[in-house]
């Protein structure tokens, strides 16, 4: 059964419609990539899922219809959102950022276990807990944002352009960690990426958005072989 299912989801910013009816499915335990050019509605799709932009249509997550719910309710159901451009609170320490990630949780014992689990992916964080997040490098901030999201112990992780503005070597590290999180914890991941090469290598399935609609979808292998995809997104 699909963990997340979007059915004809529409969303607008004021009078400007950003999503014209997006439908997609994310199977439990999989990594799914959302590709597309700037302004195609990738970020808006993630924001619609996590309740940051008002959406109509149907968004089903683990049996609940979450369309139009408040972001804190969506987070409580187990959807963690890593916004683009480093979702860190820059003036808070690394440790405080992680605490914010577990903000809505009340199960203190489990939080401790989730912290230990998160540190498996980001061991460097342990020794730098008291550092202010603003003093981390861009790559470290992106990793901290992901670590913060993991502190929610999410069923579904929404990643918005984790590669944005980072060095290729750092991007590779981050995608390795993303794959490990999916493999070791079974966390389902929906990742938005401009870098289609990278995304198709990590994901099992992908959807291509164009001006607020899904125009193509399929397994990563199919899409990587698709002529128009190769032209538009893979730079062939």
């Amino acid at each position: 059964m699909a963990l997340l299912e979007l059915n004809e989801v529409q969303a607008s910013y004021g009078s400007i419609r950003a999503l014209h009816g997006v439908s997609l499915k994310v199977e439990e335990g999989s990594i799914v990539a959302l590709l597309g050019a700037n302004g195609a509605g990738k970020t808006t799709t993630l924001r619609a899922i996590s309740g940051m932009v008002r959406a109509s249509g149907e968004i089903r997550f683990a049996g609940h219809d979450i369309a139009g719910r408040q972001p804190e309710d969506v987070a409580r159901l187990g959807i963690a959102h890593v916004p683009s451009g480093r979702g860190t609170m820059t003036q808070l320490t690394v440790w405080e950022n992680l605490q914010m990630g577990a903000y809505i949780r009340r199960d203190r014992d489990r939080i401790k276990a989730d912290y230990e689990r998160t540190m498996r992916y980001f061991p460097w964080i342990r020794s730098r807990k008291d550092q202010v997040a603003a003093t981390l490098s861009g790559g470290e901030q992106q990793m901290l944002a992901i670590a913060r999201a993991l502190m929610l112990n999410p069923k579904l992780l929404l990643l918005d352009e984790p590669s944005l503005g980072l060095a290729p070597i750092v991007i590779r590290d981050i995608f390795e960690i993303v794959k490990a999180i999916n493999r070791d914890d079974g966390t389902t991941i929906l990742v938005v990426e401009q870098n289609a090469n990278l995304a198709l290598r990590a994901a099992e399935r992908a959807y291509v958005l164009e001006v607020g609609r899904v125009t193509l979808s399929g397994s990563s292998a199919e899409l990587a072989g698709n002529e128009s995809i190769r032209k538009s997104y893979l730079g062939d």
Partner: protein
């Protein structure tokens, strides 16, 4: 030094002990005027703590905290006035009892004001709060409400006297009352910014998106910040009324709100001890400026506009670092950048200041 007690480092404890000794020493070793002025410092420290929580910690700029002080001040003044004139109850206890009431009413008002403010941020929020500061004094001044609010003539209060068993002057007693309350409010603020609520404030300030993604309710924390800030301001307003033993609408004018924001920035936004520094400047800077403007060398008289010196002094102050003094590595990225990049523009502005005496007023 890493020894900590109650989660506070040894350095901070030393600062606190020295601070308390100085605070107790001041009224016992200075004249009445100085003691009274330092009693006023406590009032503005409380007001600035409120503003710091709102602007420094939750990132919502306010040019209208003077209006919240007005509500606090008038709560105290009108409670005392109407109890006396309508019910014949006249006791200094009313003044003390009105302080929490002032906090409550101002806090409630701030909380409600927070709702329309939710849709605004940055410069637009500044303008909305500016409008608040602008409109409160004329509202108090409305003729038809004079039977309640006492209009422009204001309300006189009894000055506070120490209890008989204490051999203190009125000023010394006022000083201790104000600073005791300031101390209490400081401890509350200190704990607040270290609580989950405080972290949520800062998360909202640093990244609304990340805060929301973590499940923080923006509307709740933004309005809560307004409510708490206004409650602090209400206490400050109430103590101001008690200290001066008089209120009228002009006390809480636009100047007050602007000066508060300037003092909050000078003290350091998002810095626990910022309000203390800001409060000292708020009270003493105008006084020093006036002293300087009276200086003359032979027949050469400096421009007799204290505001000029007020302005120049503000400009010359080092910019205090926001973002929290407890950050061990606060000097890393941010401190240096903010210290390095302002001087050339500042010099230009200073020139403008000195070329036109009286034409430039910072506050």
């Amino acid at each position: 030094m890493s020894s900590r007690f109650l989660g506070i480092s040894a350095y901070v404890w030393i600062a606190i002990v020295v601070g308390v000794v100085v605070l107790i020493g001041i009224p016992l070793s200075t004249d009445k005027f100085t003691t009274f002025e330092f009693a006023n410092v406590a009032v503005y420290v409380i007001a600035l703590m409120g503003l710091n929580l709102l602007t420094g910690y939750s990132g919502q700029i306010s040019l209208g905290n003077g209006a919240f002080m007005a509500i606090g001040g008038y709560t105290t003044a009108l409670t005392a006035y109407h109890l006396k004139h309508s019910f014949g109850i006249d006791s200094p206890a009313i003044l003390y009892a009105s302080i929490p009431l002032a906090a409550l009413l101002a806090g409630l008002f701030g909380f409600l004001f927070g709702f329309p403010a939710l849709r605004l941020s940055g410069i637009y929020l500044a303008l909305a709060t500016f409008a608040l500061a602008l409109s409160i004094p004329p509202i108090i001044d409305i003729d038809k409400l004079e039977f309640i609010l006492q209009g422009h003539s204001g309300v006189n209060l009894h000055p506070l006297h120490p209890p008989d068993f204490l051999a203190l002057s009125d000023e010394q007693w006022l000083y201790f009352v104000n600073w005791a309350i300031a101390g209490l409010m400081f401890v509350l603020a200190w704990n607040l910014v270290r609580s989950t609520t405080g972290r949520a404030f800062m998360a909202v300030r640093d990244s609304e998106t990340a805060a929301v993604a973590s499940g923080v309710s923006l509307s709740y924390y933004k309005t809560l910040a307004f409510g708490i800030s206004a409650a602090y301001s209400g206490i400050a307003g109430s103590l101001l009324a008690i200290s001066v033993a008089y209120v009228n609408p002009d006390v809480f004018g636009l100047q007050l709100s602007l000066a508060l924001l300037v003092a909050a920035v000078i003290g350091g936004l998002g810095f626990e001890f910022g309000p203390l520094i800001g409060g000292l400047f708020f009270v003493w800077l105008p006084y020093w400026s006036e002293q300087v403007s009276k200086l003359h060398v032979g027949t050469f008289q400096l421009p007799s506009k204290p505001d000029v010196f007020y302005g120049v002094r503000y400009r010359c102050l080092p910019r205090a670092k926001g973002g929290g003094a407890r950050r061990k590595d606060r000097d890393c990225a941010h401190g240096r950048r903010s210290r390095g990049g302002v001087d050339w523009r500042g010099a230009e502005r200073d020139q403008q200041l000195s070329s036109g005496p009286g034409s430039v007023q910072v506050v």
